[in-house]
């Protein structure tokens, strides 16, 4: 009962803030609404007692990506200026693209929702298990993707340094 109330509250925050994030005219407010969306998503993960994912959501998205977003907005764009509307043709096109994306994702989620329920019903997963899964080489263990992602990040860092040093 309480869980349902909390879920509906979080879902309402996510829905409202998502809409606000794309409709607001100030880009920095848009970033703030996106932050609320990400935090509420973390709340939903916590509700599913999927703590590790919730922490990752907060640390990476709220604490990391959003800080970089806000930082770059403050540094580059004129943050106080209202964003101009696009041409009507472009608006229609992007609306159609968004609807298509919604349809595709909705279709996938709708047809797989029962499977998702099965996966979720574990309770809190031990941190050591997650650690072994991330660092193991067996089946359903993810050392190779983990290393591949870190390689990608390394490449990004080197690229950033190259761009920064080019005068």
């Amino acid at each position: 009962m309480i869980e349902q109330i909390i879920f509906y509250a979080l879902a309402a925050i996510i829905a409202i803030c998502s809409v606000l994030a794309v409709t607001t005219r100030k880009i920095i407010r848009s970033a703030t609404y996106l932050l609320f969306v990400l935090l509420s998503t973390a709340g939903i993960y916590l509700l599913l007692s999927y703590h590790f994912l919730a922490m990752v959501q907060i640390a990476v998205y709220a604490g990391g990506v959003m800080v970089l977003f806000i930082f770059s907005i403050l540094l580059t764009h004129q943050p106080g200026v209202d964003v101009q509307f696009e041409k009507p043709g472009r608006m229609v096109l992007s609306g159609l693209a968004a609807l298509a994306g919604l349809g595709l994702c909705g279709h996938i989620i709708y047809h797989n929702v029962e499977k998702v329920y099965q996966y979720v019903d574990f309770g809190e997963i031990e941190m050591t298990k997650i650690g072994f899964a991330l660092m193991g080489t067996d089946k359903y263990q993810y050392l190779l993707p983990f290393e591949a992602v870190s390689l990608l990040l390394l490449a990004c860092i080197i690229g950033a340094i190259m761009i920064a040093r080019k005068r």
């Binding site: 100030k26 640390a59 800080v67 806000i70 403050l74």
Partner: protein, 367 residues
């Protein structure tokens, strides 16, 4: 029964008694609701009281470092000086500023204080005194404390003031860099203790030779020092107070704030100092465990001192260390600040992590 006698003044007797009374007299959801409210009120009031203690202590210790007496007029030795200051800040006017983004301007202090309160809830203050005990507690603490920087950035931008803006940008750069080495220093200890659960980490450190700083000897001590430095930098204090460098930026990101909103920033700054100290205590210095050396009589005597007293004693000792550092070193320049992090602390941290892994794998730590 013997255990009951050995911990006479522990607060968990009180909490257990409250719990049984609530369970007997109320339905389950009612008991839960009352408990939520009680825990919330207890944490909030502890938050405020600790902040008052810290402000008083800081002013006194600062004064002693500068050969002064510090506040000594309000009450005996000035002990209610900070209470008076708090009342003053509470009744001050909140000044409404023109041409600011109202929503972000008023939301920013809440980001800062909520982040610091969420972290505060996860700290084990004593035997059975922990509000939130996640299996990945250290990760939780690191994740949640990183939200506060968004509040600082938004405050700096929403103030519509270039000093605030520069202060916020500096604070952002500083926080993002130093969070990295704080996390790495904590990871070093996680390697040693094999868990991220704060209560398990405390339970492991029963005797002094089990404290992580002793058990992990050299790499643990290096990690401890690195964590203290980077934590100190994260709280924007001491030699790392560029974001609010008074001589350059008036007050940095909270220049435009007044009254209670300024109080939020102020409170969060002091509590972040305490939170850094208490995480260091929990992770390195045995948390609320008393000093036990394995001798029966001595341990018994030490056990009579309640565990939260031990915790606060250790945490305030670390706060004292940070004040000592604060009043010793001059403020760093921004390039020196980033040099220190990226050229010294981060490489040392990484090497230290590898050393710790070797120590753990080959069993060189003190068992």
């Amino acid at each position: 029964m013997l255990l009951e006698i050995s911990h006479p003044a522990e607060l968990y007797h009180l909490t257990n008694w409250l719990d049984t009374i609530l369970q007997e007299n109320l339905p389950e959801w009612g008991a839960l609701l009352v408990k939520f409210v009680l825990i919330g009120v207890a944490l909030l009031s502890a938050y405020a009281v600790i902040a008052l203690l810290l402000i008083y202590g800081e002013r006194k210790i600062t004064a002693f470092f500068q050969c002064r007496y510090g506040p000594n007029r309000v009450g005996k030795w000035g002990i209610i000086q900070s209470v008076a200051d708090m009342i003053k800040i509470l009744i001050k006017e909140i000044i409404y500023i023109d041409n600011v983004d109202k929503f972000l301007f008023y939301a920013a202090p809440f980001f800062v204080i909520v982040a610091s309160m969420l972290t505060f809830g996860a700290i084990p203050f004593g035997r059975g005194l922990q509000a939130v005990d996640f299996d990945n507690g250290i990760f939780y603490v690191l994740a949640v404390s990183s939200i506060s920087i968004i509040g600082v950035l938004l405050a700096g931008w929403a103030s519509n003031n270039k000093y605030s803006m520069i202060g916020a940008m500096r604070s952002g750069a500083q926080f993002v860099s130093y969070e990295l080495s704080a996390a790495l220093a904590l990871m070093t200890v996680v390697v040693l203790s094999g868990t991220m659960n704060l209560s398990t980490i405390v339970a492991q450190q029963e005797y002094v030779y089990n404290w992580n700083i002793v058990r992990g000897h050299i790499p643990a001590i290096i990690a401890f020092v690195l964590y203290l430095i980077s934590g100190h930098a994260e709280t924007n204090r001491g030699p790392f107070d560029l974001p609010e460098a008074e001589s350059e930026l008036t007050a940095g990101y909270h220049t435009e704030y007044s009254g209670l909103q300024f109080g939020f920033f102020y409170l969060a700054e002091y509590l972040n100092m305490f939170i850094i100290a208490s995480i260091a205590t929990t992770v390195f210095l045995g948390g609320w465990q008393p000093i036990q050396i394995g001798v029966e009589g001595f341990d018994q005597i030490m056990n009579y001192i309640p565990s939260f007293v031990w915790f606060f004693g250790k945490a305030f000792f670390l706060v004292f260390l940070s004040l000592w550092v604060r009043w010793t070193f001059p403020r760093l320049r921004i390039d020196q600040l980033l040099n220190l992090e990226w050229k010294y602390m981060l490489p040392i941290n990484m090497v230290n992590l590898v050393v710790m892994v070797i120590v753990v794998v080959y069993g060189f730590y003190i068992k």
